[in-house]
Amino acid sequence: MQNYSIFSLVKNAFSNHQNWEVAWKDPEPKKEYDAIIIGGGGHGLATAYYLAKEHQLTNIAVIEKGWIGGGNVGRNTTIIRSNFMYDANARFNEFGMDLWRNLSLELNFNVMFSPRGIINLAHSDAQMNAYARRGNSMRLNGIDAVLLNREEVKKYIPMADFSDDVRFPIFGGLMQPSAGTARHDAVAWGYARQADSMGVDIIQHCEVTGFEIKNGKILGVNTSRGNIKTKKIGLCVAGSTNLLAEKLNMTLPIETHCLQACVSEPVKPLLDGVVTYGAGHFYISQSDKGEMVMGGDLDGYNSYAQRGNLPTLQHVLTGGLALFPFLSRQKMLRTWGGVMDMSMDGSPIIDKTHIDGLYINCGWCYGGFKSTPVSGWTFAHTIAQDRVHELNSKLSLNRFTTGELLDEKGLGTKTWIG
């Protein structure tokens, strides 16, 4: 594989950049693989990369019905954080933060990881207490957390509405300074390129139509490009999880919903980190290009449409305007939607299933992007070793039966139904 560096850039400049190697190939599917990952998004590609790198499984394929990186890894708001209260979520995501910090070097691909901090704003004493508690939990797990008072928040976001007569005044906030953002597409492409270089077949435009299962064991997968034999299959299909579950006669604690995001026209640097509004569901950051990147609530009803509905966008941006009045003078550049695999306790599932050789990675709700590296790392371990890693041992499928839920915000099931 061609190494990306200043030297290769200069060298290729002399040939007008006509001779770059392709970043990943476009192979025909083989008859058989040792393992197949379904879903060529961030999680699927990361899983393939770590299967090859950490577990020396290289006779594997990633199959994707569209093109790689065309789903949620290309549709998110690029936020990376590990500000979780529960041990299982905190340790899992903090391990992921370590992977993020080294990712550009490891992949020889600039994922533009930018640890610029996240502030969750509080608008009442009760919320400040809850954040103090969460911050303490985070620090016990070795994650940086700083409780900011109103004046300290003002230093970070002086353009927010700090007047006294607002409905939800800013009391303070919880900050994770090491959180940040990354270039989302680069994450998918970087993983794809490295996985490809280690021999992984990345097969695009290959839709799964069914599964070959005998005596409770996976034997293969049927696709739009022929039947492929394999003994191990990993599902990384986010919003399409329920569709494949139906083909497997499984019912999952997951509903598929549409989440929207939007960006404004680019403006000069204004907002350094990521800020979330505490009195509504709204979060905002500024991209390197200067666009304000914003998101918030789900549309609120089951949806497979990768586009949203205006009442939700209006509702989300109403919250945004209450926090940052300057937004009223900004033009919206784009809005889009992605379909989320909403789990019933808000935490993901990375586990084996009752079918031998079938592994599942789903339930990422609003927050799959930040966990891309650690999700791939633990899922690869689970597939290769046929047992879960300690890090994902609590992200089990049967926790909904045993009652060991990871209800991070204490909101109960189906929190999106209000």
Partner: protein, 89 residues
């Protein structure tokens, strides 16, 4: 914007309604012996189909009745609405 035809009030904006999820889910009978699986199926497990979906909506800012809506989860087209006790094919 969805427009939902409430069987009591007529065609109204989506903003007046709140969503209640899959209408095919049945609560286990009150006071009956319930297995863990039956309870989990009721509380957590969902088919979440792509295409036709029979669901519950609450006319929160209207007549406050729960209604049934048959809707498409890809196109958001609403095929039929009915009172809660009525059958939808």
């Amino acid at each position: 914007m969805l427009h939902i035809k409430c069987p009591y009030c007529g065609l109204r904006s989506q903003k007046e309604f709140s969503y209640g999820g899959d209408a095919n889910v049945k609560r286990p009978k009150l006071n009956a012996e319930v297995t863990d699986k039956e309870w989990d199926d009721f509380v957590y497990m969902r088919k979440s189909p792509r295409g036709h979906h029979l669901e519950l909506w609450h006319h929160t800012s209207g007549c406050r009745q729960w209604i049934k809506v048959k809707r498409d989860t890809i196109t958001h087209e609403i095929y039929q609405t009915a009172k809660i006790e009525e059958q939808i094919s």
